[in-house]
Symmetry: C2
Subunit: 143 residues, 2 copies
DNA sequence: GTATCTGCAAAACATTTGCAATTCT
DNA sequence: AGAATTGCAAATGTTTTGCAGATAC
């Protein structure tokens, strides 16, 4: 767990063989500070005010680099867009069909009896739940 | 579990308040017979030989209707495309990073101790694993 | 005959690519 | 200067939309 200061992020990126340009540091810092699983477009729009010459190409380049270097995970909740997450702790995502929010849920996952898996090398498990969050199920109870 | 005969599919679609046009029946039958989580494009290309006037718009319209009526699930493995699955039995998907295949894995999933979930209404859980399948991990062992 | 369904063409949207300008050392 | 990075503009690929023609009851 690294802090979100510029200096710490620079060190973290360097440790992962990523040269810490201002764009890269700011994009990584945005992911640390805003755990909302943003799309490339959301990152671009939010950082564009500060980095006024930022281009979407650079956001895409940077996110691809981060994924290649293993410091960010791409997540696929809706089909036509990729979201990004810098949190590698074991957690599931819960998409509320009411308000659209994506929650992080810290869970213990037990996967049992998958005989089919015996010779498979599992590198990553992603769990996506959907339904109604507490707020939306109170507003609009389905009983 | 319905059979993949035209008559059974017609009945099944009607039971779910979907008027069974030839296009809809053939698309649903394709999903039953080809459990490969196809994209709209793959469905279009495979059915176009038989239904020579089929359009991609109709494939999209039909898949959206199927999802709305709850007879087909959209799955999101890669970010730039939606795949479709008519199998509602509890299973996970395993994407092999070697050959690209998506396997169905029939698993028992235990989700424990999610205190954050107490007032959430979970309607759906999707599990996506990735790594190397048995064939690819033998070809290219990482030890 | 009216409502629904289908399908063409164009538009919209996310992402990628080619390449030139910029930056860093 | 040389190598890496950034960013503009155009292209690509998937999905959506508007609307006209076809189909079904």
């Amino acid at each position: 767990m690294i802090s979100n200061t510029i200096e710490d992020i620079k060190g973290f990126l360097s440790d992962n063989s990523i040269k810490p340009s201002i764009q890269r540091v700011k994009i990584y810092q945005f992911l640390l500070n805003n755990k909302i699983h943003p799309t490339a477009d959301e990152i671009y729009n939010r950082l564009n005010a500060e980095l006024i010459t930022l281009s979407k190409t650079t956001v895409y380049n940077t996110l691809h680099l981060f994924v290649d270097k293993g410091v960010v995970q791409p997540i696929h909740i809706e089909g036509n867009e990729v979201r990004y997450d810098a949190d590698f702790s074991q957690h599931a995502h819960f998409k509320c069909n009411g308000c659209g929010m994506v929650y992080d849920l810290h869970l213990n996952l037990n996967i049992q009896n998958i005989s089919e898996l015996k010779n498979f090398e599992v590198k990553d498990i992603q769990v996506l739940m959907s339904g109604l969050c507490d707020r939306c199920s109170n507003i609009n109870p389905i009983h």
